[in-house]
Every structure is written in C-alpha cells, then in structure tokens.
Symmetry: C2
Subunit: 346 residues, 2 copies
C-alpha cells in the first residue's frame, strides 16, 4: 500500500504544497493509502451556508442543484462550495482500513460512522445522487469517500435515528465551545437562537450560566420565538434582524437591564452580522463567531471602529469531546430531542 | 448639552438606523454633544487605497483633488471615499471636551492627538485645504472634527517624530495583544516576524516568556533574519514560506525540540497562511491572527480538518492601552527604535 501523510497532503493535485482544505483540486481516486479509511457513503449533510448559496444560485430547482453538486465534486474531488468555501459532513459504512491504522483505530469494517471533518477536504466520488432533501440540506448518494489519519469521526449512536444524530453532529463545535466559554452568572446573547446550532447553544449556555446568569436568544420570527419558549432554553427572547446592529444593541440592553453582555455567540447563517455580535458585548467580553458567513476584516475593523476591547474567536468546528457533548444534549432534554426530530430528522 | 450615543448614531442622517461607518451622510455640525470631543484638525492621513483612487480619477491634478475632497466631505459629512469605502486617520488638537466625558477621559484641551478610528465614520468639516502632499497621502487643512465617546485615539508623544509614532500606532493592536496572551515559559511562533507588527510582537513576546520560554521568529529572507538577530528579539529564527504549512510545521518542530508550540501569532501580509499558523500549535494552544489577509472559513474549517483543538482569535485592531504599550517598546529598546526610524520614518 502507498504511504500517506497524516493530513492527506499526498492527495493534493493543485496547487502543490498545500493541505487538502485550501486545495482547488484533490484526488478522489478510491484506491486507499496505508493510513486512510475508505467509506461507502450513504448521505452528505451540506453546510447550511453552502446549501443556501447553491439553492439560491439555482433558483431552488432540485435537478439544477443536483447538477451543480455533481459539477463541484467533479471539478474539485471534494464537495467544497467555491463561493462560501465551506463543506459539511457525511455518513457511511467503513469499507476498508489502511494497514498502518490497524490496531491504532477503534473502527472496524462495517461500522456506520459520521465523518466530523469537513467535506471541504474529504476526497469524494459521487456515482449517483439518489435524492435531495432541501429542508434538511441532505443529499443521499451512491459513492465513496476517504478519511485521513487526522480525520475525526463518530460512530453513530444506536439510541437515536441516524439523520437526527447527523444533524446534531454537523454543528457539534458550537455547543461544545459554549460549554467551554460560558461561566456561571454570565449574560449570554445567542444570535440565530432559533436555528440548529442556536438551539443547542442556548440549551448549553442555560446549563452553564446557572441560576444567576442570563441567556438571551435572538430570533427573527414569532414562530422561532414560540419554539424557544416551548423549549425553555432562554431567559429572554428578542425578535430582531441580526443585520441591524443598532436595533440588536438596543433590544439586547433592554433585555439585560441596560447592561452590556459578557458573551455573544453568532449562530446566524447570513452575512453582515459582525457588528450586531460585537456591539452588545462589554469590554473584556467574548465574541464567538460560529457562523461561516463571518468576514474576518469586518470583525477586526468593526471592533476597532467602535473601540471595543473584546476577544473575538473563530468558531473551530472541532473541540475535544464535541460529539459526545452534543449527542448528550439530545439525550438529556426530551423537548430538544423532539424539536430536532421534527425539524431535522425524517 | 445634547446627549449623544456612545457610537455616534445620533449623527447619522441617512439611512436611518445604521452606524456612522456604513451611513451615507452624517451630521458635521460642530456644536458638540455631551459625550463628544471637538478636534481642531491639522492634517488628514488619507487611506492609501482611497487617495490613489481620487488621484487617478482627477488625473493627478492637485487643485482637482482638493475640490473632490471638499465635495465628498460636503456631501457625506465625513471623508469616506465613495468608491473604496475607506477613510484614513487625522491629527489635530483637542479643542473642547463634552461635559459628560470630564473625569472619564485622559485628554485635556490642547493635547495633540491622532485619531485611531477611521475617517470613514468621523464627522468632519473642512474650512480650507492648505496643502496636499501626495507622496504621503497627507492633506493639511483648516477644519474641525468630532471624536465619539467610543472613538479611540493616541496622544502624540513629544519624544519622537510624528511619522515614526504613526507607523508604530498603525499596528499597535498586535504587540498589545501579544502582551496579554503570552505567559512565562511558553513557546511562541511569530509568522512574518521581520515585518512592522512582527518585530514589535517578537520584542513583546520575548519580554513575556521570560528566561524559560522560547520565541521563534519566522521570516522568508536572510536579510530579515539578520535584522532580527541584530535586534535580539528571538531565541530561534527560521526561514520558511508561511504559505507552506508542512514546511513551517517541520521547521518549527525542529526549532522547538520536536514539541508543538503554545501560541502562534500571524503577522504576515499575504493570503493562505492559516494552516501554517494552526498546524504547529499544540491542543489547547492559541492561534492569534493579526493579518488582515486571514480567511475566516479557511481557519475554521482548517483547524477542524486536522482535528486541532485550538482557540483561534481574530486580531482586534484595538485593545486597552495599545498605543502606550507600542510607543513604550520603541522607547525601551534603542535598536528597535533605530530600525523603525530607518524603515518607516522620514
Ligand atoms: N464554525 C464551524 O465549524 C461551523 C460548523 C457548522 C456550521 N457552521 C455555520 O453556523 C451557522 C449556523 O448553522 P445552523 O446549522 O445552525 O443554521 P440554521 O439552522 O439555518 O440557523 C441559522 C439561523 O439564523 C437565523 N437568521 C438568518 N438571518 C437572520 C437575521 N438577519 N436575523 C436574525 N436571525 C437570522 C435563521 O432564521 P430563519 O430560519 O428565520 O432564516 C436561523 O434560525 C451557519 O453559518 C453555518 O455555516 C459553522
Ligand atoms: N488586525 C488589525 O487590526 C490590523 C491592523 C493593522 C494591520 N494589520 C495587518 O497585519 C498584517 C501585517 O502588517 P505589517 O504592517 O506588520 O506588514 P509588513 O510590515 O508588510 O509585514 C509583513 C511581513 O510578512 C512577511 N511575509 C509576506 N509573505 C510571507 C511568506 N509567504 N512567508 C513568510 N513571510 C512572509 C513579509 O516579508 P517580506 O518583507 O519578505 O515580504 C513581511 O515581513 C497585514 O496583513 C495588515 O493588514 C491588521
């Protein structure tokens, strides 16, 4: 077997010397290297920002969306949206394990797994798109993918439906980071609180702030407000447009007794929400951008422009134990699981 | 006195509900609100992209450039280039301080300051353009400007040349953040160590790690390596291309006795250096991106793709005391000051 690099650099075609994620094109030849795992793919869960972009670009036409996805994977060897740069994740069955990984991995041939590394760096070959479920950004396919030695994954839990687990695992970084960042007594604003990562973050923040803290969820529709009320995962819920910083600032201050908040967590899936996330936070506070629509320069220059001494964190999709933390939330909270089943599982 | 909003939204004329920076027109009425500072302006330092655009548009004719600048400020109430969207900064003397700021600000009437917020959001009235110095994008004027309560500034030091101070203040966020992040005994990698912000960060990191830590500077030329050796601000200097993550990883490990580092600070000015900054850092370490060429998605997905549990920070141009920390470095270190005078002052 051919010897591969831990990070998959051996698959990069163009440009040379870079890692698979920034590469324009990688090899999706399905003969594995000694430290790779071959996966028989069942479904792709496309990143929300990416799916929305493709959907809008193709006018919502499912056949055109299929064609565009095949085109992207054909060109790049991976499902990386050329506009958003983002990917998503996949589930499949372990088909073959590279010989140098035997004894090093806890995987066995036949295990059903979700890959927790982005599709934006995962070698992928699509033989056929079987179905697209736009409501849950899911693409069912016949095809193969490769997991690198450094690639993270989760064996799919037996106590929940696969689409449910996959939906939650897709945004596992957000609640796990929330668990690390939020401390007892703090006030936390979650923008996009009615979305998938938003609800998980609210639930986790609620646990972390304890009885003396405050979780403020920002949504833009009455429907989302009612769902959050049903879930009981926020102390206050405000309806506002995350693209309007002054409105967000004023409503947040109102919900927090006139005080600036300790932490803002951005789980929105549209652009131009940097200032709404930064403005309500107090000096020395934390701004956590999970949204992939975040612009680095808008955040950096925006904070400077309003003289905010805040620590701004780029949402790392991975943090230790993120899969377990996220699945555990659904096990702990009956209502959350029910809402997730209704919205994201089939 | 009229009560103003901390961020200057009370001056926005059009469109309503936005912040001063994205506004098309703000009020440059020079009667101050209770939390504003009136500045008697000496000179505008127009952002280089903006100045170049106006210069080209007006065929390099100084009289026409003057007319265009007066026109823009007349229309918008601020010197924001309608094509580039950018501003610049100004130098002036504090003329009046709003009553609610008295006791809250360290400024006094008569202080000479540089505003460190963009001209793209600063209310400005030009009475007369005295001179234009196209070689340094500088416009000397008679006029007034307003500094909002949230607006950051630096008192211009009496013990150094103005161009030297401004050059250092331009990147003041980086060394000040280094001072906050780096702890004794840590190993720190600085990418772009030979640049303006890079040298300041190395010097600051060297102070912070103390005798048990290690500062590794990454440069790409022998000339920069020699300059850093002369300055004595690194324990180890490696020559590598910051766009080649695998090369950077290997050379950093070699310079750090085979161990991953605690903190990486990116001061490079080119794109595609995210992974070189992430890869050498150990789990639970910190990645600080000062470079404006950083891509949010490349960093977020990149860290996930290699399974790195690191905290990634967006370089905020502002942090408390950043101007003082930075100017102090030049005062403390004779060699650093000399190099800065040679490279960046006139
Ligand atoms: N950093 C990472 O590693 C990582 C990993 C996975 C995903 N992500 C990113 O995280 C973000 C959220 O993902 P998700 O799956 O949670 O998405 P989601 O379920 O679609 O949630 C997004 C939420 O934002 C709301 N929203 C959109 N525009 C808004 C506005 N102007 N004002 C207020 N709310 C607004 C949406 O409301 P409506 O329903 O009313 O539109 C929705 O509730 C995406 O950008 C995704 O790319 C990041
Ligand atoms: N976050 C903020 O608020 C803020 C504020 C101000 C500036 N900035 C940003 O900070 C960055 C640095 O600013 P600066 O004034 O310090 O710039 P600078 O003096 O031009 O320094 C950049 C350094 O990066 C080096 N470099 C470029 N490409 C490289 C590569 N491939 N490998 C290794 N080194 C490489 C350059 O080396 P050569 O000389 O050999 O090209 C130079 O030494 C810029 O991106 C700037 O936009 C950010």
């Amino acid at each position: 077997m051919r010897k591969g690099c831990k990070y998959g650099t051996h698959r990069v075609i163009e440009p040379q010397g870079v890692l698979p994620q920034p590469a324009l094109k990688i090899s999706n030849d399905m003969e594995i290297y000694d430290n790779e795992i071959l996966i028989d793919v069942i479904a792709l869960n496309i990143d929300s920002a990416s799916f929305t972009q493709i959907e809008e670009e193709q006018g919502g036409d499912v056949e055109k969306i299929k064609k565009r996805i095949l085109e992207i994977v054909g060109e790049r060897g991976k499902m990386q949206n050329p506009v958003t740069g983002s990917g998503g994740m996949l589930i499949g069955i372990v088909e073959k394990i590279g010989e140098s990984l035997i004894g090093k991995t806890d995987l066995n041939v036949g295990d059903k797994i979700a890959t927790l590394v982005s599709l934006s760096l995962t070698p992928l070959r699509i033989d056929e798109i079987i179905d697209i479920k736009p409501e849950i950004d899911r693409v069912e396919i016949k095809g193969k993918a490769i997991l690198f030695e450094s690639g993270i994954y989760a064996k799919l839990p037996k106590d929940m439906d696969e689409t449910l687990a996959l939906a939650a695992l897709d945004v596992a970084g957000a609640p796990a980071q929330t668990a690390k960042l939020v401390k007892p007594g703090q006030s936390v604003l979650i923008l996009g609180a009615g979305g998938k990562s938003g609800m998980l973050c609210c639930y986790e923040a609620m646990k972390r702030v304890g009885p003396t803290g405050k979780v403020i969820g920002l949504v833009r529709s009455q429907k989302d407000k009612e769902r959050l009320e049903y879930l009981g995962v926020c102390h206050e819920i405000i309806i506002a447009d995350a693209q309007k910083p002054v409105e967000v600032l004023n409503k947040t201050l109102e919900a927090n007794n006139g005080k600036e908040i300790d932490i803002a967590i951005n789980c929105v899936n549209v652009a131009n929400t940097e200032m709404s996330t930064i403005l309500p936070v107090k000096d020395d506070g934390i701004v956590y951008f999970f949204s992939m629509a975040t612009s680095f320069t808008k955040a950096a220059l925006g904070a400077e422009g309003v003289g905010k001494d805040v620590t701004m964190i780029i949402g790392n999709g991975y943090t230790k134990g993120h899969a377990e933390i996220t699945l555990q939330e659904l096990r702990e909270n009956e209502k959350l699981r029910k809402v997730f089943e209704e919205l994201y599982a089939n």
